[in-house]
Amino acid sequence: MEENRNINETVPVKKQRSLWDEAWRRFKKNKTAMGGLIYLSILVVVAISTTVIDWVTKNQVYKQYIIKQDLLHRLKGPSAQHIFGQDEFGRDIFLRMLWGTRYSLFMGALAIIFALIIGGFLGALAGYYGKRVDAVIMRAMDILLAIPSMLLATAIVAALGTSLVNVLIAIGIAYIPTFARTVRASVLTVKDRDFIEAARAIGCDDSEIIFKYIVMNALAPIIVQATLGLAGAILSIAGLSFLGLGIQPPTPEWGAMLSNARTYIRDAWHVTVMPGLGIMLTILSLNLMGDGLRDALDPKLKN
């Protein structure tokens, strides 16, 4: 009996592994998606190393180069010394963008993880138990979805006040319904497959089935959704900061940098163009990766 059970359990897992290998093989072939992945990896390295630098130097570098003003060289265009030029307070835009990477990347990721955990949990519950549980959860999600996500995030920040954590929560909440829906849909498609029946037949309990089988098998659409959701979350963070409702200056968040730049749009193009380019390239690489992942994980969809 014990032996039988082990055999049954290894079947989907083994299938899973080759599926991931296969997906990775397809993903590697996709040059644009790989480009996105490489660009993002560089960003992650930048975000981590700037954080480490700040930690090691006890914010000395940060104070000296990132927020210290140099009013004599306000709005100076790109030069060999300052490749992206200087902003309205004479600070180096390139360095500020490097230091700003962490806000977009880490806060976006945290918001998505928050949304994924709560939304995923709700979606799994709804999909697995169905009936009343499903109805209640999904109606609540419908209502949340009836509020455009940027609007919902703004409203939450408006109520809670503008702080890093509140922005994070606001954006996280706004993405809960998306993940709840994705997970629920995937759960519904795998729920009635034979190996779930088999797991039930050999006496796995509900939570074991949900996590070991359903979540594992629903992972592909979740990964794709999370990648695309991260792009959306980064855009929302930048948007909130641009409106002055997110991360506040002088913190070098990309959207906040653009918010200041607006005032000087007549005098200095680079102050507007550079931070925006940074956001765009990040979103672009996430979208490329998302597309690539979708094609790799679901080859049926590929043309």
Partner: protein
């Protein structure tokens, strides 16, 4: 069909109640005493207490929500903390400006997005396809406030063709001129999204057996594209457009801020900054309701395009 529309209208009610409740609840989390915001720092303790009683702030949350909804049905959303003008009037004033922007944005998105998507799908992997899909991907990836600023730099500051701020007045032409850049700003993301959706939807349809049937009938390419492919490909696009409208309403806050456009979005941002809670509440409730109504319209259009859905409703399901 009437039954279906009526049913969908009725379904709208719980959604709107839910939305208002969530927003009302969130807004009540706001720290700070509204009475203090209205009366200012110099107010005495008694004056504050009286004001609180007047605003009904001493009642439990549910009672206050119930009162809010009761008043809402009479077109009363309270008065602004800032200027004492009824919220309803101010919101209604600004609503058409945002609606115009959103509709123009969607119009631009469909006008360019659908043909680009069709051409790309028909010439899959061609140069045209590659260029438009790269462009679409960039379009999806641009933060709209940034593309707005770039448009201003190009068309207002450099070329001097179009105004960069506010809404034109005195005739149709100035208004139209002033609407081009904000609606383009708002529409770029959606345009790119629609182009991508149209392409993938068309590619999906192109492989269907009924397209082979149509080809085997000896129909020419144009008829196959319009009568057989597009009509089927449009079905998922319609849903996407409904969702894009919500995206647009969220984006309106940003675009309106860039262009100082006197719409709901900007009103909301300004109200948040001055902690004018009833006003924020009013803006969110209105925009969310607008979004729900658009989705209702999308559902109805959907049913007209897809006979499978239509007959489902005819059966009274």
């Amino acid at each position: 069909m009437y039954k279906f529309v009526l049913k969908r209208l009725l379904q709208l009610i719980p959604v709107i109640i839910g939305v208002t409740f969530i927003v009302f609840f969130i807004m009540n989390l706001a720290p700070g005493d509204p009475a203090a915001i209205i009366l200012g720092d110099q107010a005495t303790a008694e004056a504050l207490a009286m004001k609180r009683e007047e605003l009904g702030l001493n009642d439990p949350l549910l009672v206050r929500y119930f009162n809010y909804m009761k008043n809402l049905l009479r077109g009363d959303m309270g008065t602004s903390y800032k200027n004492n003008i009824p919220v309803w009037n101010q919101v209604i004033d600004r609503l058409p400006n945002t609606a115009i922007l959103a509709v123009a944005g969607i119009f631009i998105a469909l006008l360019f997005g659908i043909p680009i998507g069709i051409l790309s799908a028909k010439k899959q992997y061609s140069l045209l396809d590659n260029i438009s899909m790269v462009a679409a991907l960039i379009g999806v990836s641009m933060p709209n406030f940034w593309s707005g600023l770039l448009l201003v730099m190009l068309f207002s500051l450099t070329l001097g063709w179009l105004p960069s701020q506010g809404m034109g007045s005195g005739g149709v032409i100035p208004v139209l001129r002033s609407i081009i850049l904000p609606s383009l700003t708002l529409g770029i993301n959606s345009m790119a999204m629609v182009a991508r959706m149209t392409r993938s939807s068309m590619l999906e349809v192109i492989r269907q057996d009924y397209i082979s049937t149509a080809q085997a009938k000896g129909l020419n390419d144009h008829v196959i594209t319009t009568q057989h492919m597009l009509r089927n490909a449009l079905i998922p696009i319609i849903t996407a457009v409904g969702l894009q409208f919500g995206h647009l309403l969220g984006g309106a806050m940003l675009a309106e801020t860039v262009f100082s456009w006197p719409g709901l979005g900007r009103l909301m941002v300004d109200s948040i900054k001055s902690r004018d809670i009833p006003m924020v509440l009013g803006c969110v409730v209105f925009m969310a309701t607008m979004f729900s109504i658009v989705n209702l319209i999308v559902d109805i259009v959907y049913a007209f395009v897809d006979p499978r859905i239509k007959s489902m409703y005819k059966k009274g399901n």
